[in-house]
């Protein structure tokens, strides 16, 4: 034990260069002859290096702590901390972007305002019923009309008709859609994804919420199997991913996006704004979330904004369903209580399941 300590002392003095030449010679000889001594020297050298580094880092840390104590952290933090109000926070982050955006907003507001005032539009937004062969349409829509006419030139009875989308709310043929699609129509038909048409009659209309319920009155109609989607009772949050299936043309078209605002046009609380680009014909289409819950019904879009649409909130679907005799809907109706059959499925599978329940509405 005693010898060990002495050896350690000599090794350290040797490594720190405190031995005189004679002692160094003697020690190096010992080191050559004795492997254990040599091993001890190497490990002590490594240890000293580690210790040196440790000491240096420690001193550095102390120094940094000292400097840190000179900084007035609190007042600095107070100015830099995320401001409690999100507005200020956003402002700080995106000053320049906001400035540019604001000028655009002001510009577009001015133009919307002037347009509204010059034309005294009665309608608040563009309804998305597919109005075929309407002479008073803008140039954009006109192009679509020509295409549409080419595609359906072999269907003469398509003249002067409105088209839209609707979806089943019970298995025995009740279909919900927008009132503005069928308003003033003489006869109504729905067409399913297989191309079969059925005659329907309107059984309930709600002008306030722009909702209509139709009933298939065709003998050839076979009852559907159970409704795959359910109604979402709560309101959806901004950012929730949603999609819609509709008939802006003769085949079903999927539109995907997210809930972009909790209110519709100029703060209409009965509607959401969704970021889905929709076209005439999408009206009445169901808006579903990823779990297959019915979030709303596509009903219109802002005139000046591309890629946005308005959707009537799902609770008004429930209200409309309550307004018709409950027995008539049968047992297998759309409810809010069940688990959606679509939940957990991939989008392609979901579409496969719901496409039999989404109809094209044709109003003549």
């Amino acid at each position: 034990m005693r010898n060990d300590l002495e050896l350690d002392a000599i090794i350290e003095d040797y490594l720190l260069g405190k031995l005189n030449a004679q002692e160094v010679d003697a020690f190096e000889k010992l080191r050559l002859n004795d492997a254990t001594v040599d091993h001890k020297v190497v490990s002590h050298k490594f240890f000293l290096a580690s210790m040196d580094e440790f000491a240096e880092q420690l001193r550095l840390k102390e120094q940094l702590n000292h400097i840190h104590s000179e900084i007035d952290v609190e007042s600095l933090a107070a100015t830099l901390r995320p401001h409690p109000s999100r507005v200020v926070q956003l402002w700080r982050k995106h000053k320049s972007a906001i400035a540019v955006a604001a000028s655009f907003v002001v510009l577009s507001l001015v133009s919307i305002y002037s347009i509204q005032h010059s034309t005294q539009q009665a309608e608040r937004y563009r309804q998305l019923s597919n109005r075929v062969n309407n002479a008073i349409k803008t140039q954009n829509s006109l192009i679509r009309n020509i295409k549409h006419n080419n595609a359906t030139s072999d269907k003469p009875n398509n003249q002067n008709s409105f088209g839209g989308t609707g979806f089943a709310i019970s298995t025995n043929g009740y279909i919900l859609t927008n009132l503005h699609i069928i308003n003033g129509a003489d006869s109504l038909y729905v067409q399913n994804s297989k191309g079969e048409s059925f005659k329907v009659k309107s059984v309930y209309t709600d002008p306030q919420n722009d909702i209509a319920i139709l009933k298939i009155s065709d003998k050839h109609f076979n009852n559907l199997s159970s409704i795959p989607y359910t109604i979402k009772r709560n309101t959806s949050n901004i950012g929730e991913m949603v999609y819609t299936l509709g008939y802006p043309k003769d085949d079903a078209v999927l539109g995907e996006g997210y809930v972009s605002s909790k209110n519709g046009f100029v703060g209409d609380t009965t509607q959401y704004q969704v970021a889905i680009s929709v076209n005439p014909g999408n009206s009445g289409g169901p808006v579903l979330d990823n779990n297959g819950n019915l979030v709303g019904i596509i009903s219109g879009k802002p005139d000046q904004t591309e890629g946005a649409a308005f959707a009537i909130k799902s609770k008004y679907i429930l209200e409309a369903m309550r307004a018709i005799p409950q027995d008539s809907l049968g047992v297998n109706k759309l409810t809010a209580n069940k688990k959606s059959l679509l939940s957990g499925l991939k989008r392609t599978k979901q579409i496969e399941k719901i496409q039999d329940y989404v109809f094209m509405i044709k109003a003549y």
Partner: protein
């Protein structure tokens, strides 16, 4: 305060030369120059002042060691380097605490510093090892070792401080402590 900090920002060359020459003043200026930047980043990304202090000091140590090692090439602004390093350290801490790292609010440009940080982590591990070995040592050994190796006190000073009758006794005590420390330190 803020303006005072900004006005004393040293140039990147000054910082490197200063650190190589062990200038305390440079370190002081460097530290104060970029602290606000990192504080802002941490505060706006789920952290508080203490997190900012830890991360920033770690970042400064990475830079300091890199400059000291002599292989620091100024390929970007020092500010960007410090920001990138601190950002990387903070992201790692966030993910370790499984806090959300979804959207990070950035205030500066960022470039890859993975290699430097790996190097730093190795160094940090050996630092931690020595620290925990010292903590396990117990008193008075810990203080004797610290006084001798870290605060560079002479055996004479230590002898007086601890009231040993002569330096030989103190030395014996020191080597006994050292033996135990090495045993702990080299434990796998």
């Amino acid at each position: 305060m803020n303006n005072g900090l900004k006005s004393s920002v040293p140039t990147d060359r000054e910082v490197i030369l200063g650190i190589l020459n062990n200038s305390e003043d440079t370190l002081n200026k460097l530290y104060k120059a970029y602290y606000a930047m990192v504080l802002q980043f941490i505060l706006n990304n789920n952290g508080d002042e203490d997190d900012a202090k830890d991360v920033y000091q770690e970042g400064i140590i990475v830079l300091y060691n890199k400059i000291k090692a002599g292989n620091f090439e100024l390929s970007s602004k020092l500010k960007t380097y410090i920001y990138s390093v601190c950002r990387r350290i903070w992201l790692k801490k966030l993910s370790l605490n499984s806090k959300k790292t979804g959207s990070i609010t950035d205030y500066e440009d960022v470039f890859a510093v993975e290699e430097d940080l790996e190097h730093h982590e190795e160094k940090d591990a050996s630092f931690e090892k020595m620290q925990s070995a010292l903590d396990h040592l117990g008193e008075p050994c810990k203080t004797i070792i610290q006084d001798f190796y870290i605060h560079n006190l002479s055996m004479q000073d230590i002898c007086e401080k601890f009231g040993y009758t002569n330096t030989d006794n103190a030395k014996t005590q020191k080597y006994k402590c050292l033996q135990r420390l090495k045993k702990i330190f080299f434990q796998p």
